[in-house]
C-alpha cells in the first residue's frame, strides 16, 4: 500500500545500484567472505606464517609492511609480545568460527526444542517455559553473558555454553509462535486421528515445518553471537590468553592505541566487522528466500 501511494505522489525513480545489490538475488560477496573465513579457519596451521602464541621480544610493535619500519617478515606487524598479527588474525578466525557456529547450534537446539514443546503441549508446561523465556529475555543478553562468564571462568567451551544459555530464548519465542499456528493445521489433526503420539507429532510433523525459521534465525544470530564473544574476550572473561581471539587482540591493542599503534586494534575490528556484516547480509537474504512469513518481522 505504502509503496503504491508513493508511486502516485512521486515520479518513479530507478532503484539505485546499492539497492539492487542488496535486494538482488544471491548475496555473492558476503557468502564468499564467509567461505573464505571458514577456509582460513580450517587451514590456519598451513596459512599462518608464524606461531600465533609465541613471539619474539626483539620484534615487538613492528608496524605493517607498508609503513616505515615494517618488514615483509611480519606483513601486518607485531604486537606487544612480538607475535605476528597476521598469524593471530588467521587463528582468530578459527576461534570466531568455532565459537560462533557451535554456540548458534547449541542455542538453536535448546531453543527450538523448548519452543516446540511449549507451543505444542501448552498448559502449564507452556506457562513455565514462557515465563522463564520472558525473564531471561528481560536481562540484556550482554549483562547475562557477563554474569555467567564471571561465575564459570574463562575458557572457549564455557563461552559456547554461556552464549547458548543466553540466546536460546530468541529461538524459543519465535518457534513457539509458529508451532501455535501449525498445530491447528489439518495435517497435525490427521496425525492425531491416526493415533500418533505427541512426541512423534512434534518430531516428525512439526519440526520439519519450523526448521526453516530456525535456520534463518541461526544465520541472523551468528553475527550477534560473534560480537558477544568478542565483547566477552575484550572484557577478559571470554577466550583466555594466549589464545588468538579477535576480541582479545582488541583488548591488547587498546593499551597501545594512544601511541598510535593502530594496526593492533583496527585490524581485528575489521575482521569482526567483515564477518558479522556477511553473516547479517546472508541471513537477511535467507530470511526472504526461505520464509516469507518472517519478512514481516
Amino acid at each position: 500500500m505504502a509503496i503504491q501511494t508513493e508511486v502516485i505522489a512521486l515520479p518513479p525513480r530507478a532503484p539505485s545500484r546499492l539497492a539492487s545489490f542488496r535486494l538482488g538475488d544471491f548475496p555473492l560477496i558476503p557468502a564468499l567472505i564467509l567461505v573464505i573465513v571458514a577456509l582460513v579457519a580450517i587451514f590456519a596451521n598451513l596459512l599462518a606464517p608464524h606461531n600465533p602464541e609465541i613471539g619474539s621480544l626483539t620484534a615487538r610493535f613492528r608496524p605493517p609492511v607498508w609503513q616505515t619500519g615494517g618488514s615483509t617478515k611480519y606483513l601486518l606487524g607485531t604486537d606487544q609480545l612480538g607475535r605476528d598479527v597476521l598469524s593471530r588474525l588467521i587463528f582468530g578466525a578459527r576461534v570466531s568460527m568455532v565459537v560462533g557456529f557451535t554456540a548458534v547450534i547449541f542455542a538453536g537446539a535448546v531453543g527450538t526444542t523448548l519452543g516446540i514443546i511449549s507451543g505444542y503441549l501448552g498448559g502449564w508446561v507452556d506457562q513455565v517455559i514462557m515465563r522463564l523465556t520472558d525473564t531471561w529475555l528481560a536481562l540484556p543478553a550482554l549483562t547475562f553473558a557477563i554474569f555467567l562468564a564471571a561465575i564459570v571462568g574463562p575458557s572457549m567451551w564455557n563461552i559456547v555454553i554461556i552464549l547458548g544459555l543466553t540466546y536460546w530464548t530468541r529461538y524459543a519465542r519465535v518457534i513457539r509462535g509458529e508451532v501455535l499456528s501449525l498445530k491447528e493445521r489439518e495435517f497435525v489433526r490427521l496425525a492425531i486421528v491416526a493415533g500418533c503420539s505427541k512426541w512423534t507429532i512434534m518430531w516428525r510433523h512439526i519440526l520439519p515445518n519450523i526448521i526453516n525459521s530456525a535456520i534463518v534465525l541461526g544465520t541472523l544470530m551468528l553475527g550477534v553471537v560473534i560480537i558477544t564473544e568478542a565483547t566477552l574476550s575484550f572484557l577478559g572473561i571470554g577466550v583466555p590468553p594466549p589464545e588468538a581471539a579477535w576480541g582479545l587482540m582488541l583488548s591488547d591493542g587498546k593499551q597501545s592505541l594512544m601511541v598510535g599503534r593502530w594496526w593492533l586494534s583496527v585490524l581485528p575490528g575489521c575482521c569482526i566487522m567483515l564477518m558479522v556484516l556477511s553473516a547479517n547480509l546472508l541471513g537477511d537474504w535467507l530470511r526472504v528466500k526461505l520464509d516469507p512469513q518472517l519478512r514481516q518481522l
Binding site: 532503484p15 520472558d134 525473564t135 564471571a150 575490528g269 547479517n280
Partner: protein, 306 residues
C-alpha cells in the same frame, strides 16, 4: 483497568522471582559459591568461615530464603575491593550512567528519526539504500571497536577530544556516539517501517486528496503518529543502554555502572557483579511494567482485550 494492572503487577513479580531464582541457582550450580565470596587466595579456614557466615551449609531452600530476605532490605552484599555496600556503590555510579545514556539516546534519536523518515519517503531510492547500509553497519560494528577507532582518529591523530575520563561535555561526545550508534540504527529502522505503515493509512490518503503538500502531510499528519512506537522503543532502549554500556564505559574509562561491573570482574569482586546484574534485570522488568500500564492508560483497547 484495575484487573489489568493487578495481572501485570503479578507477572512483574513473577519475573522478578524467576530472575532471583535464576541468579541464585547459577551461582550455586556452577561450584561452591564460597570460592566466589571469599577473596582469591583465601585459606581453607576462611572458606569454612564463609560457609558458616552465609549459611552455605544449610539446605538450599533456607539459603534462598536468606538471599531473598537480604535482597528485600536492599542489601546486595559488601564489595571486597571497595569495602562498602554494593548498593551504595551502585547508586553512586548510576547518575553517570544515566547521564551518558540520556545523551547517547538524544543523539541516536536525532540521527535515527530524520534518516528513518527520509528513507520512508523515498522508498527504494538512494536515501533508503543509504539508510539500509547505515542500519546494517550499525548492527554489525561492535561498539567497543567504534569507540577505539573514534579515540584513534579524534584523540590520537587530531587531538580534538579527550580519550577517556569524565568531567567536561567534551568527554561525553565520543562515548555517547559509540553507545548511540547501534541504537540509532535500530531507531531508524523502526521509524522507517512505522512511517511506511502510517503513510499507507486512510487518513494520510485523505490528507493527500485534500491537496495538502507532501511536506505538510509528512510533518503534520504522518510523523506524529509514526513517532509513538519509536518513542516507546526509545524508552525501553534507554534502560537497556544504561545496562549494556559496559564496553563503551571500559573503553572510555567512564565511571558508570558498566565500569563498576567491569571492575567487579577484574578484581573478582563477586558481590558487585551479582548486584549489578540483579539491578539490571529488576530495572528492565519494572520499566516494562510501567510501559504496559502506560499503554493501557492511553489505549483502552489493550486493557479490554485481556
Amino acid at each position: 483497568m484495575k484487573q489489568y494492572v493487578i495481572r501485570r503487577v503479578g507477572y512483574c513479580l513473577l519475573s522478578l522471582f524467576l530472575l532471583s531464582v535464576t541468579i541464585f541457582f547459577f551461582v550455586r550450580v556452577t561450584g561452591d559459591p564460597a570460592t566466589l565470596l571469599v577473596e582469591p587466595g583465601a585459606s581453607e579456614a576462611d572458606i569454612a568461615a564463609i560457609h558458616q557466615q552465609f549459611g552455605l551449609d544449610r539446605p538450599l531452600l533456607v539459603q534462598y530464603g536468606i538471599f531473598m530476605a537480604s535482597l528485600a532490605h536492599g542489601d546486595l552484599g559488601q564489595s571486597f575491593y571497595y569495602r562498602t555496600p554494593v548498593m551504595e556503590l551502585y547508586l553512586s555510579r548510576l547518575p553517570n550512567s544515566l547521564y551518558l545514556a540520556a545523551v547517547a539516546m538524544t543523539l541516536s534519536l536525532l540521527i535515527g528519526i530524520p534518516s528513518g523518515i527520509l528513507a520512508s519517503v523515498r522508498v527504494g531510492g538512494f536515501w533508503d539504500s543509504a539508510g539500509k547500509t547505515f542500519t546494517l553497519l550499525g548492527l554489525s560494528l561492535p561498539s567497543f571497536w567504534v569507540g577505539l577507532v573514534l579515540i584513534l582518529v579524534f584523540s590520537v591523530y587530531l587531538g580534538w577530544l579527550p580519550s577517556s575520563g569524565a568531567g567536561t561535555p567534551l568527554h561525553l561526545i565520543m562515548p555517547a556516539f559509540a553507545l548511540g550508534w547501534y541504537f540509532a540504527a535500530a531507531h531508524m529502522r523502526l521509524t522507517r517501517s512505522s512511517m511506511l505503515e502510517v503513510l499507507g493509512s486512510e487518513y494520510v490518503k485523505l490528507a493527500r486528496l485534500k491537496g495538502l503538500p507532501q511536506s505538510l502531510v509528512i510533518a503534520k499528519h504522518a510523523f506524529k503518529n509514526a513517532l509513538i512506537p519509536v518513542l516507546t522503543l526509545a524508552g525501553i532502549n534507554l534502560v537497556i543502554m544504561v545496562n549494556v554500556a559496559v564496553v563503551v564505559e571500559v573503553v572510555f574509562a567512564w565511571p558508570g555502572i558498566g565500569r563498576l561491573l567491569y571492575e567487579g570482574i577484574t578484581f573478582r569482586d563477586f558481590p558487585v557483579v551479582q548486584g549489578v546484574v540483579l539491578m539490571a534485570g529488576a530495572m528492565i522488568v519494572v520499566v516494562n511494567l510501567l510501559i504496559d500500564i502506560l499503554y493501557a492508560v492511553i489505549d483502552p483497547r489493550i486493557r479490554l482485550e485481556s
